[in-house]
């Protein structure tokens, strides 16, 4: 019992200190990753620019034109029109709606998914209905949501909610159903049973799947915000794109697209960071 040296030898892999890459080595690694990630976007920009010059089109602005538009959209001082320096307000409105709908979807989807996954009766009760609703494209709900919620932001939030809800729910159910049955047995024989198991076993064991669902759901949320804001909303990135279309201002449309792309990317990064933090126990999810 007191021979600890033997015990340590049982786990040489766990004991060997990981050869810590120096600060400089890490920096080089990071720069390399960023550089690799930038190659394709830069190439796309160059192709875009060349194509615009080559065809001489006036329908699509050049990257430089879009860059000027973006600057004006963000800080103003160039065109001085209705869109100058209006980025913060549009951005803020869209973010509110995206996260409003997304958080509602998570708040309902995760608990419901945990219960459906764990309770056969509830699964038999709800699964057919959910399977029926799921294939309906969320955009098809637009007319109805406008009747339910009127012209305005609430219809957009509803669409975002619907779009995020199903991936979150289904991934949660899948996560719960794929929990190793042994873990429930282990919890039970240790005296953790019934409702206690939801918090102590079901939720943490399903967390990897839940995070997959959240990331998918957040992606859909950013897709649907544009659809949701295309009707009867004065502010929001979707509304800006729609206005750009109406006014034939393609530079405005592309500006809106790029900003949504970047925001969606950053919001996914935040979820990924949260996921890495909460799943630090899981070797295959710690990306």
């Amino acid at each position: 019992m007191d021979d600890t040296s033997n015990r340590v030898q049982l786990a040489p892999a766990a004991e060997t200190p990981v050869p810590a890459a120096g600060k400089r080595g890490q920096g080089v690694q990071r720069a390399r990753t960023v550089a690799l990630a930038l190659i394709v976007p830069v190439c796309l920009l160059v192709i875009w620019d060349v194509m615009v010059r080559w065809t001489g089109t006036r329908l699509v602005p050049s990257p430089a034109g879009v860059a000027i538009m973006m600057w004006d959209f963000a800080f103003g001082g160039i065109y001085d029109d209705a869109y100058s320096a209006s980025l913060p307000i549009h951005f803020w409105k869209s973010v509110q709606r995206v996260y409003g709908g997304f958080l509602c979807a998570a708040a309902i989807g995760i608990p419901l998914g945990l219960m459906i996954g764990r309770m056969p009766l509830l699964r038999k009760l709800l699964d057919p209905t959910l399977s029926l609703l799921r294939p309906i494209p969320v955009t098809a709900w637009l007319p109805l949501s406008m009747i339910f919620f009127g012209l305005g932001p609430r219809a957009a939030i509803f669409l975002v909610f619907l779009g995020a809800f199903f991936p979150i729910l289904l991934n949660t159910v899948f996560g719960v159903r794929s929990v190793d049955i042994r873990l429930f047995e282990a919890a039970e024989m240790l005296g953790c049973s019934g409702a206690q198991q939801f918090r102590s076993v079901v939720l943490p064991a399903a967390l990897p799947s839940i995070f997959n669902g959240l990331r998918l759901g957040a992606g859909f949320a950013w897709i649907l915000i544009v659809v949701g804001e295309m009707t009867g909303v004065p502010e929001g990135l979707g509304a800006v794109i729609m206005d750009g279309r109406t006014l034939s201002r393609t530079d405005l449309v592309i500006t809106g697209m790029i900003i949504i792309g970047i925001t969606g990317f950053l919001s996914d990064r935040i979820l990924l960071m949260l996921s890495n933090y909460f799943l630090r126990w899981s070797p295959q999810h710690h990306a």
Binding site: M1, L10, A11, A14, E185, E188, M189, C192, P204
Partner: protein, 268 residues
């Protein structure tokens, strides 16, 4: 004196006339028939048998994970109908909670039985030290070797103040060196804590090494074949003549019915 007197100890667990029938897709399968077994307090019992003899099923019925089709299991005279902290299980595949550290895995039982958090910490520290994992308190299961994981699984049950330790081929997935080390440690833990152990194995050597009493089971349907008392002093020496006499005897008992009914050699 390394051995504890067990013969005068009271009965703790009683299995009477247990029968288990599974409904398989091709009809009912009788996994156990007419199993009677009495376990005395503080006893170390091994259930030994080839695959398919129902030894794991019997253990799972005692644990409360499965219900007997007929017959009953009682502990201290009360019927066993569901899993409980009084019968702690150690699984072959560890079944640790991968999202909890070594410390939190060991503290899981007491914490969920609403033990004060200070006491949980004391219990955790005590049993972490007992299995020699204090230095690994903040590791997650995926950072541990198989032997260390099984130590955590044992400590997790011990910290929960279990009466009977149920072990389902716990060392089956470990390499030979780690296995014999853990066997030694298990006997030491059993000796110092006064636990009752029911240990399922298919290895004759392991059974003779560990047990006070070896229950030999046979298949088709699963039943108890015979019992063999092992009164060798501990620590036991695998190389000693006495050990080998007993090992041969048990192997013979185990293989006789297999050879008779199926014509295959037992895996020891």
């Amino acid at each position: 004196m390394l051995d504890r007197p067990t013969t005068i100890a009271p009965d703790i667990l009683e299995v009477s006339a247990v029968r288990k029938i599974y409904q398989a897709s091709n009809g009912p399968v009788e996994a156990l028939r007419g199993v009677n077994l009495t376990i005395r307090k503080g006893e170390f019992v091994c259930l030994l048998g080839a695959s398919g003899c129902g030894k794991s099923t019997l253990l799972r019925i005692v644990a409360g994970f499965e219900k007997a089709t007929e017959g009953s299991v009682t502990m201290y005279g009360f019927p066993v109908d569901k899993p409980g902290p009084d019968r702690g299980m150690v699984f072959q595949d560890y079944a640790l909670f991968p999202w909890l550290t070594v410390r939190d895995n060991i503290g899981f039982g007491p914490k969920h039985r609403r033990v004060a958090s200070k006491v949980v910490d004391e219990l955790t520290d005590k049993f972490m030290a007992m299995v020699g994992l204090t230095a690994f308190a903040d590791r997650y299961p995926h950072q541990l070797s198989g032997g260390m994981k099984q130590r955590v699984a044992i400590a997790r049950v011990l910290s929960n103040d279990t009466d009977v330790l149920l072990m389902d081929e716990p060392f089956g997935a470990l390499d030979a060196l780690t296995r014999s080390k853990l066997q030694e440690e298990l006997v030491e833990i059993w000796r110092t804590t006064g636990l009752t152990v029911i240990f399922v194995t298919h290895s004759v050597e392991e059974a003779v090494m560990l047990a006070d009493r070896v229950i030999v089971m046979s298949a088709g349907p699963g039943r108890i074949d015979c019992e063999i008392e092992v009164d060798l002093p501990r620590p036991r020496d695998v190389a000693s003549p006495e050990f080998n006499v007993l090992r041969r005897e048990v192997t013979q008992k185990l293989t006789s019915h297999i050879a008779g009914s199926r014509g295959v050699a037992a895996d020891s």
